[in-house]
Symmetry: C2
Subunit: 241 residues, 2 copies
Amino acid sequence: MKNAKIRLYVEHPLGQGQTVPLNRDQAHYLFGVMRLGVGAPVLLFNGRDGEWRADVTQTGKRGGELTCAEQTAPLRMPPDLWLLFAPIKKARTDFIVEKAAEMGAARICPVQTDFTNAERVRRDRLQAHAVEAAEQCGGTYVPAVDDLRKLDRMLADWPGDRQLMFCDEAEAGSVQAPGAARGGKWAILIGPEGGFSEGERARLRALPFAHVVSLGPRILRADTAAVAAMTLWQQAMGDWT
Amino acid sequence: MKNAKIRLYVEHPLGQGQTVPLNRDQAHYLFGVMRLGVGAPVLLFNGRDGEWRADVTQTGKRGGELTCAEQTAPLRMPPDLWLLFAPIKKARTDFIVEKAAEMGAARICPVQTDFTNAERVRRDRLQAHAVEAAEQCGGTYVPAVDDLRKLDRMLADWPGDRQLMFCDEAEAGSVQAPGAARGGKWAILIGPEGGFSEGERARLRALPFAHVVSLGPRILRADTAAVAAMTLWQQAMGDWT
């Protein structure tokens, strides 16, 4: 089989013999930047049909067409893990979204905490970062990025069957939640650089579904804490075996 | 006691009543940027004497002086962990150094692997990133950044009493090395984006002090892998309790 190096996320359905139209950006990338010609292989995924090797069947400046030849990987869903984080400086927020996709979060939820400055996030830009990370890390799934929501509102209507792991510099704890089963529904909450407010701390500690976790004796930046927390969770309860 | 927010790394010895001269850059930061005046408190550390609260006793455009008032934290050494990594794109290399300091590596070693493009690294710039990360994360120690060395040379004269954990996408493994004791001498090796060459793989696998570790089913970028690997190590064998 031809060896495809390029991975591309598309919205279009994928399947044996399925043709996939390209938009202007995709055509520019594949034909203008990567200089692919007719017959060149590309790996496609859409978050639903797994990964397919497709071959270029039509090139163009404003569009083009690929045709699916064979499935190269099944759809692999990540564990049912949400990453809640307080948006910080642009570059680090982009990193957190990228890392969440790489580490296997199923959903990315920017939240506004008492110490969060951000009033809104560019959801479309963050989603694009998640797509790019999925293309890079070989994932067949792209986590959805939500709009910014207030943390207290989210906690107010929190689903009763989902555990919440939060990382508090002020406290120590263990990642293994009592009775928590591998494959359960979870969320990880990463606070802003300034940490949580006293009110938020008290509220989080009182929640029956919340579990505090320690990330060691040093103060971690939010993007570092996000990767560290997802690592502990993936090893203890996720799909790292 | 006055509440000091600013943490500054200095070379000078620290101790009760010790005066600490400031260089031009430090004076510009404290007096020009942060607008501190005489009597303002600053937290100092030098990697040897712990953290001290010092008060500004002399200001100036090209220099100034601080005087140590009280020790606010003892010297806290990180575990004896080296992070070996193959330099990648500038921004991500900077991130890896920053993350290594935050996560508590004792020494940072850029290594040249078969798939490493970099011929050299700006050691001074990377060391400055480690200092800044230590100032940020509340550490009292700054990991030394080595010059770029060839991986095969490093492995050739590897200290016999130091275990090596390497992360190989192609293999699975457990972080807990057989018989490895908490507090032992370790190193973590993170490969370049292209992974290790077959020759490197074979050689690493054959080393008696090497332990392969899996970082899950997705392919992680080098900076993500560095944080994830240090997290697993810190939890299993480091100072995360």
